[in-house]
Symmetry: C2
Subunit: 137 residues, 2 copies
Amino acid sequence: MLSKKTKYGLKALTYIARSKDDMPVRVSVIAKSEQIPQKFLESILLTLRKAGILGSKKGKHGGYYLRNEPSEIKMTDVMRVLEGPIAMVPCVSLNYYEKCDDCPDENLCSVHKLMIQVRDNTLSVFRNTTLEDLSNE
Amino acid sequence: MLSKKTKYGLKALTYIARSKDDMPVRVSVIAKSEQIPQKFLESILLTLRKAGILGSKKGKHGGYYLRNEPSEIKMTDVMRVLEGPIAMVPCVSLNYYEKCDDCPDENLCSVHKLMIQVRDNTLSVFRNTTLEDLSNE
DNA sequence: GTAATCCCTAGTAAATTGATAGGAATAATA
DNA sequence: TATTATTCCTATCAATTTACTAGGGATTAC
């Protein structure tokens, strides 16, 4: 299952990408429009900012804005920040590889083989999708 | 993340598929060989039996066996039984569709669009993979 | 200086996961 | 029939994760 955090994060990014003017977008505006609990959304956008995907401006007239063009923001990056590793098991993760304790030989492991295929397919979607694609209506 | 339940279930199915003779395979044998907690594995195999994927024989010399040829057992079925819906959000699930409360129009929802693509790719892997593929070494 | 905003830490209730416990039911066999 | 080996079933539980909420600090525009 996709977590609410990721779902909310993607919706918020889309909202920001769709907002035409260059003003930073306030959390409260996104929360209201997308029906997301505001405090929860705050923490999500903070995560995206710390990951370098969003920038922010504090104080009155503050808010969040994209650090790059929507067409430059890949879903691989967004998903890794929000949802964590893309692979369903650590032993097929490119960025967070971990050997299974129980598995003597990965090449003989049926789960490993299957999950590599799933990973490659999911990855190809995320690699070929940018925030621009998401924000096109 | 793939649950341990699914991981164990896949490994157990593979083990049974690889065992050449037609004797039912005991839970204890699989548990020992694959390093799976036996009681937990019991409950998993029970689930697979109730779903019609495994058959069982009780009492002495009892155990579990496949109800069909490995080449007839599709990963779509196995994964749905063990892991639940293949889609990451209910609003793109073929078998367990549910509308999102918050989403006024699915066609405008960026999450929806992205998750349809992920679902289709994952589904194509599971549809084209059978237990026979997993059990080939 | 005041209002509006993001920033940060902490906490928390509910759900899910990954088991374990204990025994009932069933079947083979001596 | 008694014994043993197995699956079957229900209940329980600790740890973790999820989806928030609370409260206030820091910063900026006006």
